[in-house]
Amino acid sequence: MSTVPHLPSAIEGQPAHFGTILAHHPGLATSFGSTYATFWSQGVLDHPTKETTRIRNARITDCGY
């Protein structure tokens, strides 16, 4: 998969990455950021388990994170 961003950064002076591209859509970025933070900082699942699934998913899907 290409690692060249298909959209430019929406934040002047910063390179294109997930966060700066998402900034093209501020409302969605805010909502997603809040939800994502809740997923990672709260809940009934311990953090190592969350991290294990994240890493495994990233490896299988060739995600850079």
């Binding site: 959209l7 093209h24 501020p26 969605l28 997603f32």
Partner: protein, 161 residues
């Protein structure tokens, strides 16, 4: 969706009329079976069967405009194999949608793909009615890039996403 014969049909009926399709179909099946990982070959086979039989189409939505056609092609590639979405396809998306809209489209694909898998893995039935209320995010701010599509083609009731 009409089949390749313009009406609902079977593969045998199709090949009886369009004999030249037999070899390409066989070759496609051989290629996908040999090269496609996971369920991709099975999905392609199912899609081929739909196309032959004239099923699984988008007739309820009427004729798709060029932007919608790009989205449909992108959605199919995204679901089948996201690694196959290339720069040219994303460039075509950019011809019809603003950056904000492209972000929204990709989130829509990611959520539908992810939650469809979630539903499948958890054995959840397809809900026919909504039992929870989803509050749409606030409308786009005025600083957001304007759509490159005509307003008549914009959905009006789907919220920000």
């Amino acid at each position: 969706m009409s089949s390749w014969l313009g009406a609902h049909t079977s593969e045998a009926d199709l090949l009886a009329v369009r004999t030249g399709l037999a070899e390409p179909l066989a070759q496609l099946r051989a290629d996908t079976g040999r090269e496609c990982p996971g369920r991709t070959a099975t999905i392609i086979e199912a899609r081929m069967a739909q196309m032959i039989a004239g099923e699984g189409g988008l007739e309820p939505f009427g004729e798709l405009d060029p932007g919608e056609q790009v989205v449909v092609a992108l959605a199919e590639q995204f679901m089948l194999d996201a690694h196959g979405v290339d720069g040219a396809q994303m460039a075509r998306l950019g011809e019809h949608f603003s950056p904000a809209e492209q972000i929204a489209i990709m989130f829509q694909l990611a959520f539908t793909d992810g939650f469809t898998k979630l539903r499948r893995v958890m054995g959840l039935p397809v809900a026919t009615t909504t039992t929870t209320t989803v509050v749409a995010p606030s409308p786009p701010s005025s600083s957001q890039p304007s759509s490159s599509r005509s307003s008549s083609s914009q959905p009006s009731s789907k919220g920000d996403l």
